[in-house]
């Protein structure tokens, strides 16, 4: 249980271990109380986000004992040697580079009303680690893509499409400027709806769907490291660190929600709307799992 406190997260070793000890302590307390009550039977108890994350970390550490935590942002290439060689060759001349340049131009160009993105994102373009976040006023999870469109609409510009197109270069530039930041999703305790959103995302992740009856977990937890045809199934830890992604199969770069759509379609499940409530909650849960992992977007994948 304490095994993964010594190995991994470069920048976050201390807080994670402290948190873990906290959890252990709390769990022990709970158990003591239960013993006092005299053999109270409890079934599937709700788990805290930190317990969820710890379970995923434990699972992958058991599966891939030689893979250090900081490798997980590289997806399947953290665990697939052959795929990794190709990927490293591709990264020599990153196919996403033109997107970063184009995105910077967009960032620097003012809207018709004279304002710019900087007026909405006061900390500048490198803010990916602030998303997704719970917005108490709006009562919903706000992703970076959604924040971009809210900014545009507030300034009289048309919203951009969420799966591909001009939003991608802008996200690529912002991701690039955020490289080296660490995933740090917070679920605020002063608003129970935030935890609800997390729980809904978790539920979505574990629900089997489509005619083929898979959940995200079937592929990315139960069978991670194994292959569907020639595709090695990546761990979910690190799934959110590197978006948008230039995908050879797409022949262009796309967003995380485009990937969700594809993963749903492959199992013959009707995809949800990009940036709709379901996928935003899913992103909230999925990104929480990667807490402590470094942001390394934009990325390149097969």
């Amino acid at each position: 249980m304490s095994g993964h406190c010594d190995g991994g997260l470069r920048s976050n070793i201390e807080p994670n271990c402290l948190e873990k000890r906290e959890i252990m302590k709390k769990t022990l307390n709970k158990m003591a109380i239960l013993l006092l009550l005299g053999g109270v039977v409890f079934t599937a108890q709700a788990t805290t986000p930190e317990e969820d994350r710890a379970a995923f970390v434990k699972h992958y550490k058991f599966r891939f004992p030689d893979v250090p935590m900081e490798e997980y942002p590289n997806g399947a290439y953290a665990i697939d040697k052959i795929g990794r060689e190709n990927w490293e060759a591709i990264e020599e001349f990153p196919p996403y580079e033109p997107f970063i340049d184009e995105g910077q131009e967009m960032w620097d160009t003012s809207f018709a009303n004279g304002k710019t993105y900087k007026d909405c994102f006061s900390d500048g373009p490198g803010v990916a680690s602030q998303y997704p976040r719970w917005d108490k006023k709006q009562g919903m999870v706000i992703t970076m893509a959604l924040a971009i469109n809210q900014c545009r609409e507030a300034n009289g510009e048309k919203a951009l499409k969420y799966k591909k197109g001009p939003i991608v270069p802008l996200l690529a530039y912002m991701a690039f400027e955020s490289r080296g930041q660490v995933t740090n999703v917070v679920i605020p305790e002063d608003d129970p709806r935030a935890m609800e959103a997390y729980e809904k995302g978790k539920k979505f992740y574990f629900t089997r769907r489509g005619q083929l009856n898979f959940s995200c977990a079937t592929c990315h937890v139960q069978n991670t490291g194994l292959k569907v045809r020639t595709e090695v199934l990546s761990p979910s830890l690190g799934h959110t660190t590197h978006w948008p992604v230039y995908r050879s199969k797409w022949g262009t770069a796309g967003t995380l929600h485009r990937r969700f759509t594809g993963c749903n379609r492959n199992i013959r499940a009707k995809p949800m709307k990009a940036q709709g409530e379901q996928y935003r909650n899913l992103e909230y849960f999925l990104t929480y799992l990667s807490n402590g992992l470094e942001l390394n977007g934009p990325g390149a994948r097969k």
């Binding site: 978790k202 089997r208 959940s215 977990a217 009707k270």
Partner: protein
């Protein structure tokens, strides 16, 4: 035409139209198979929507319904009937799939 007779001509036309309309509709409904096909397509559509209401719709179901409509419009009622029935069954199973998982269950392979 005599202008004084115009109102009664119009009246006659209106009456004829009103009388004729249901007859035309009845013509289309003459083939009981066509009516059955439409009933089955509606049922399939309802089943698809019910599955969607629990976020469990399959991509295959809507496609079947589309094909059923196309077959129906070509008058290929047997084919349309088969497709619509298949779509309805799929919708029902997909709903079951979603409804049976209304509570989160962490799979046994993920150990806490």
């Amino acid at each position: 035409m005599n202008m004084r007779r115009l109102p009664s001509v119009i009246l006659l036309a209106v009456i004829m139209a009103v009388v004729a309309a249901p007859t035309v509709a009845a013509d289309a409904a003459m083939d009981p198979k066509a009516a059955e096909v439409m009933k089955q397509i509606d049922a399939a559509e309802a089943a698809r929507k019910k599955a969607a209401s629990v976020e469990s719709e399959w991509t295959t179901t809507g496609k079947l319904i589309k094909k059923a409509r196309a077959a129906e419009s070509k008058g290929d009622y047997d084919k349309a009937l088969g497709l619509a029935k298949e779509a309805r069954l799929q919708g029902e199973i997909a709903y079951q799939q979603g409804a049976s998982q209304s509570e989160l269950r962490i799979p046994a392979y993920l150990k806490y």
